[in-house]
């Protein structure tokens, strides 16, 4: 069921997910489109998430935004519910009560293990989004594994002292007993500054012609988990199952790439180790069980017909 409406307030609104925002020019959503979006959300009972550019909006926009309950996704150093860091440095000066998002390429990520380890004890929640996950190689996986092991050490110590910072890559799977995917096009849709609707911001960024009618989405079932042949049997519950990345890499929204799956399973297996490590010292999340598995890509163990 649809639950959220994401509204990109400007073409240059901050990206908080896999796809870069190629738009650099300021171009605000029309006030009428903004009002219409809010009205739509009210009638459909959708919670709105506004996504902001890095400049102060005109007062008339702020007034309209203020007419409805919402969450704010903002670029650092603005204040909001979700704050997107420009880089590792700005992460250190984040407001403590917000969800912090760090978009980062794999090379920089692998080189930043210690910096992230140092930040973890200071955050409530950090979402790391790897922007080039579709290019993961076997060698990258090795490096990713050691990065996650290092972060596990920090997280274990924190959890045992009663401080429980969340890191999407590791602690989400540890807490989940069922899938928690992005569900773009099923639970959330996006209103872009051109006044049209999209599955998510990435579809707008990559091709503005990919708009949809939110009341009549063709083949919407293919966005649902029950129509994803690999994912519906998968227990990497924390995986975003990004339908935009799926389409980019395999041409089908319901089929993930090999790279996506092995990265998510590397995280899943690391989460399993973290859970075990904490449980060696304390009782923790007894309802969660992460089984030992011998594959990283569910495609390799699919049912063959």
């Amino acid at each position: 069921m649809m639950q959220y409406l994401v509204i990109l307030l400007d073409d240059s609104s901050v990206s908080y997910c896999h796809c870069d925002n190629p738009h650099k020019e300021h171009h605000l959503i029309g006030l009428d489109d903004l009002r219409a979006g809010i009205l739509y959300a009210m009638k459909q009972n959708l919670m709105i998430q506004f996504v902001y550019p890095d400049y102060e909006l005109p007062q008339e926009y702020l007034d309209v935004i203020d007419t409805i309950d919402h969450h704010d996704i903002v670029p650092h150093p603005m204040k909001g519910d979700v704050v997107v860091a420009k880089d590792l440095e700005t992460l250190t000066s984040m407001q403590a009560d917000a969800v912090a998002v760090l978009r980062i390429g794999k090379a920089e990520l692998f080189a930043s293990g210690e910096a992230i380890a140092a930040i973890l004890p200071k955050v409530q929640r950090l979402n790391i989004v790897i922007t080039d996950i579709d290019t993961f190689t076997d060698d990258d996986l090795k490096q990713y594994n050691s990065l996650l092991s290092r972060l596990n050490e920090v997280l274990k110590e924190e959890y045992l002292t009663g401080h429980t910072p969340q890191l999407n890559l590791l602690t989400d799977r540890m807490m989940l007993t069922k899938p928690n995917h992005c569900n773009a096009g099923v639970e959330n849709i996006t209103l872009a500054p051109n006044g049209r609707y999209y599955f998510c911001p990435a579809f707008y960024y990559s091709n503005p012609d990919d708009s949809i009618d939110p009341q009549a989405i063709p083949n919407q079932q293919l966005l649902r988990l029950d129509h994803a042949p690999l994912c519906r049997h998968c227990d990497a519950y924390h995986c975003r199952r990004c339908v935009w990345l799926n389409r980019k890499t395999t041409l089908e929204v319901n089929t993930p790439s090999h790279e996506q799956c092995v990265a998510a399973h590397t995280e899943r297996n690391a989460a399993r180790q973290l859970l075990e490590a904490i449980r060696q010292k304390a009782t923790f999340m007894p309802e969660v069980e992460i089984k030992e598995i011998n594959y990283l890509d569910p495609f390799d163990v699919r049912k063959e017909w």
């Binding site: 063709p218 083949n219 293919l222 129509h227 395999t250 041409l251 089908e252 089929t255 495609f299 017909w305």
Partner: protein
């Protein structure tokens, strides 16, 4: 011949265990059949030897990625025998390289052709057949009686249009094909022919199948087109034709030694969502290459086969296959792509689909939306098929031959395309 053995449909050679690899050697053909799904046929795109060789090298040097026990090297067009010289060279090279590499396919390969039969008698084609006699299967397409055949299978205009595309003429091709049938059957007595039924062909089904039998063709593989071409009332007319055909086959005793793929004991049952979830179509488990060196999951995804979608290219002969693009094909199952009516359908078994047509007809760019344009036609076929088996079994019963029949009956899996 065992008089009491009922002729059942022949399974495809090593079906299931073999890799089907198709060379689209040319997009040209002497004919311009009116139902031809190849919308972009043209005289320009012919495969070069360099392209063919690079492709062969790619496939044979990646033995690890092609683990199927055997291989069918398929040559299609347009009309493949227009390129017999190139084909001969490719086949020689294939044999040489499979031998040199000690490839596991060396003793388990076949060259396969679907031809319009027009050039069958030429010395080039004949010497190729002699050279590769033990490793060839050839299907000649003949649609039935002269009238039926010439309804669709007409010669193309002598000159292509401004875009290089071929256009149909009024001249039928029946006589040019049928003269080669005796030679073909003398060389391949078990060969079958493929017949494709569109809306206008329905009234000719019975006479066509009987005509093909009378020419000595024992196996008639016949199916309705997957495209949405059907008119109101076609299903009733189709059912009636098939029942007349059933009567003729049973009353005339043809069933003993001749087969028509319309009638099968495996069709018309409900399907279990768990057990019977397999994809019908072999796209993705096959591989095709065209003149430009692009690779496709099946020829139906090449641009010349598509009406409304872009070609779905999964790689090229230089860089190989992009495995990520194959994943949707290899994970596709019946349940995920079918609408609810097909999941609830009580006669679903044998109701086929073509992944390429599904893709071409889909509302979005997906292979996961099953086209059900043949729904009413399949249901009509099921009714006539039930009639056929009920009538045949009763006859065998009365003649005291039913038990023997059931004992000898072969279990034939439905053929994937």
């Amino acid at each position: 011949m065992d008089l009491y053995k009922i002729k059942d449909n022949e399974p495809a050679w090593q079906s299931g265990m073999s890799k089907n690899i198709t060379f689209i050697v040319t997009k040209d053909c002497q004919l311009a059949c009116k139902y031809c799904y190849l919308v972009g046929k043209n005289v320009k795109e012919r495969m070069s030897w360099e392209t063919a060789k690079t492709f062969v090298d790619y496939v044979l040097e990646h033995e690890d990625e092609f683990r199927e026990e055997s291989v069918v090297w398929d040559f299609i067009g347009g009309e493949p025998f227009l390129e017999i010289e190139l084909i001969d060279k490719i086949c020689d090279y294939l044999k040489l390289r499979m031998f040199e590499l000690n490839h596991h396919w060396f003793n388990s390969y076949r060259f396969s052709f679907s031809t319009n039969g027009i050039n069958y008698h030429t010395s080039e084609v004949q010497s190729f057949i002699k050279k590769n006699r033990e490793h060839i299967s050839i299907g000649i397409t003949i649609d039935g009686t002269e009238k039926k055949h010439d309804l669709n299978r007409v010669w193309k205009q002598p000159t292509a249009d401004a875009n290089g595309l071929t256009q149909p003429s009024e001249r039928g091709s029946y006589k040019d094909v049928v003269k080669n049938i005796p030679l073909w059957l003398s060389q391949f007595p078990d060969a079958g022919t493929k017949v494709t039924i569109s809306s206008a062909d329905i009234p000719y089904i019975k006479e066509s199948v009987l005509h093909l039998y009378s020419l000595g063709i024992h196996q008639v593989n016949i199916n309705v087109v997957f495209e949405d071409v059907w008119q109101e009332g076609d299903d009733a007319r189709f059912e009636e034709q098939l029942m007349e055909l059933a009567d003729a086959i049973i009353d005339g005793g043809w069933y003993q030694d001749y087969a028509c793929s319309f009638f099968s004991e495996h069709i018309g049952k409900s399907l279990d969502p768990e057990r019977d979830n397999q994809n019908w179509c072999g796209a993705g488990r096959m591989l095709s290459v065209d003149a430009a060196g692009n690779l496709y999951p099946c020829t139906r995804f090449a641009q010349y086969s598509l009406r409304s979608k872009k070609a779905l290219i999964i790689g090229n002969i230089k860089d190989g296959i992009n495995e990520n693009l194959l994943r949707p094909f290899l994970t596709l199952d019946r349940i995920t792509q079918s609408p609810q009516k097909c999941l609830d359908c009580e006669v679903a078994s044998g109701c086929a689909w073509c992944q390429g047509e599904n893709y071409d007809a889909a509302q979005t760019n997906t292979i996961y939306e099953r086209s059900t344009a043949i729904c009413l036609m399949h249901k009509a076929r099921v009714r006539a098929n039930n009639y056929y088996w009920n009538k045949l079994y009763r006859k065998l019963e009365l003649e005291g031959r039913r038990e023997e029949f059931e004992k000898n009956e072969r279990d034939v899996k439905p053929e994937i395309c």
